[in-house]
Symmetry: C2
Subunit: 101 residues, 2 copies
């Protein structure tokens, strides 16, 4: 699993300030808490696979998302607990502020 | 006074995702509530005047900051009440997440 251990607040903010990445985070945030994972292919964003892949990587690099491989499949989850601990209220307020656009 | 009436969440987020603009917002947020204004020249940021001016304009365009002229002087304030109403918790959580860098 690839995880950046200590995401920096500005890095997280800059990674979130993009409509496609926000949509990925929103879909991951909507996963049931006990599981919380989505296959990369199950995330629906209106961009090409290679563009989506670039955004996934940016979210992982910022420590917002972690990924896990199982055979040829890739699964991702939002690092919700870590983010909420380091940046209280940030993910919730950002998702709320940018919903219903 | 120049104010964008209905800031959009993504626009606000993108405007905040910059270290100089965050510093301006942080200094404005630290002004006493009854007054809440700072002269543009009183805001200390480690960039040239023209770069600072560009950032002030971006913050005004995003509806985060409002400005007011008095003679040749320009005053700015954070549109705290409007932002807190439209985007609950956003400014606080962003400032908290990016403090102490």
């Amino acid at each position: 699993m690839h995880v950046k251990q200590n995401p920096d607040g500005l890095t997280v903010l800059q990674a979130l300030a993009d409509p496609v990445r926000l949509e990925i985070v929103r879909q991951l945030a909507g996963c049931p808490a006990d599981d919380g994972e989505l296959r990369c292919g199950a995330i629906e964003v209106p961009v090409t696979k290679s563009t989506a892949s670039h955004h996934f990587k940016a979210l992982i690099a910022a420590g917002i998302v972690a990924d896990r491989s199982e055979g040829t499949r890739k699964y991702m989850h939002l690092r919700r607990a870590e983010l909420d601990e380091r940046f209280p209220g940030l993910i919730d307020s950002v998702l709320r502020a940018t919903s219903g656009r």
